[in-house]
Amino acid sequence: MEKKIQLPLQEDTVEELKSGDYVYLSGSVYVARDAAHKRMTDSLDKGEGLPIEIEDAIIYYMGPSPAREGRPIGSAGPTTASRMDRYTPRLLDMGLSAMIGKGKRSKEVIEAIIRNKAVYFAAVGGAGALLSKCIIQSETICYEDLGAEAILKIEVKDFPAVVVIDTKGNNLYEN
């Protein structure tokens, strides 16, 4: 089933999403990958807050190539989500509503997805040039010193993705 979805995700929209649905996402998305997740988790361990609004947020696991002049972003496809598994349940419990990446998730992440009625989308791995066309704006939010691993906030328009794990824990990769 194909659906156009406006972000942030509403509770009823999330519950209607089924593993295998093809969606086009529009709205604001945070971008963070390995080093940013580690740093966010270190902050939480120290009792500090997060540099992003995690409630109802979507995180895209991605580290773009540099943008040419006049373009919002460079090549911008998903990275392997399982590397973020160690950090993810905690963020889901804090209100993270969805993630976009590629590849399998751990049992702990899937349990946290079900517990928090969240969803895991996959974008096409290796289609960074194509996906960059769906990103209309990009700004660095923090951790600029991490280079390609800084946290960004991007605006996406009709960004194509597939629901891999839905709120019930159905998993497209297991079919």
Partner: protein, 280 residues
């Protein structure tokens, strides 16, 4: 004795890094077209079409095919009658990588230390493999390697008694475990024989062979063909979403080994199997 300047090496490496990341070689385009024409799953077909569109956009807009523009792996085959004039060869190579990744808007994905993990900001150093060969030629092969698939690569130290069936099982195990993580449809490079490090290096070298062209050694060719069809029967499919195209090509290199061993390395590459060769 032939003289080659370090400057010309730097210039070529720079151009090759950019070229490799913006467009795939003809052999990869061909195996892609074949996959599109054979895919049976609807989602799989959709993913393959997106990947073809992605290649077109990358070339036209001069934007990297994939944001993971890789760690630069450089193979140098240097004729023993060649003299390199100018800078230290390794520095000349790294300077080419530095210029290519900065001027080509390629992502800087290298950290200076595996534990401290500070980004070097110019994608250096490259991983360089030197080979001294006969004559006065100089051949550069560049293969920027993305880590989504590199992370799913494996070395198996099999026993001689495991034989060819053990090798087949090892390859299938690596591909199954890689699944959707390695951005299928994949190219599977395999090294059989040698020692622990030699088989890994052969697996990487195998990835730089022309995709879709089988080995000249009869049993290796049969093994490549058999593994390609076995892998494609796993139903991992494009993007890991199911389908009959899990691998675009299986490429196996072999080398003599010890009476006690049967090393097998499986180096998995995503569909963005970049390799550029220049000889001069």
């Amino acid at each position: 004795m032939r003289t080659i300047t370090s400057e010309s090496i730097t210039k070529n490496i720079k151009e090759m890094c950019i070229e490799a990341n913006y467009s795939l070689s003809k052999d990869m385009e061909d195996v892609f077209s074949h996959a599109v024409s054979t895919e049976e799953s609807n989602l799989g077909k959709k993913v393959l079409q997106q990947l073809q569109e992605n290649l077109k956009i990358a070339k036209e807009d001069q934007i990297p095919i994939c944001q993971d523009t890789g760690m630069a792996v450089v193979f140098l085959e240097i004729g023993q009658d060649v003299h390199i004039e100018g800078d230290f060869l390794e520095d000349a190579v790294n300077e080419g990588v530095r210029q290519g990744y900065i001027e080509g808007y390629l992502r800087k994905s290298v950290v200076a230390d595996p534990i401290v993990r500070e980004n070097t900001r110019d994608n250096t150093p490259a991983v360089i493999h030197f080979k001294i060969v006969k004559g006065d030629g100089f051949k550069i092969t560049i293969t920027p390697k993305g880590f989504g698939s590199e992370n799913m690569s494996r070395v198996f130290m099999l026993k001689p008694a495991d034989g060819i069936e053990g090798v087949k099982e090892a390859i299938l195990t690596a591909v199954k475990d890689a699944g959707p993580n390695a951005c299928p449809p994949m190219v599977v490079g395999v090294g059989i024989g040698g020692t622990f490090e030699k088989c890994a290096l052969m697996a990487k070298e195998a990835l730089t062979r022309e995709a879709g062209h089988f080995s000249e050694i009869p049993y290796v060719r049969e093994l490549e063909q058999e593994m390609l069809s076995k892998i494609n029967a796993l139903n991992i499919g494009p993007g890991g979403l199911g389908g009959v195209n899990t691998a675009l090509s299986v490429q196996i290199n072999t080398y003599p080994t010890h009476i006690a061993g049967l090393p097998v390395a499986v180096n998995i590459c995503c569909h963005v199997n970049r390799h550029v060769v220049r000889e001069f």
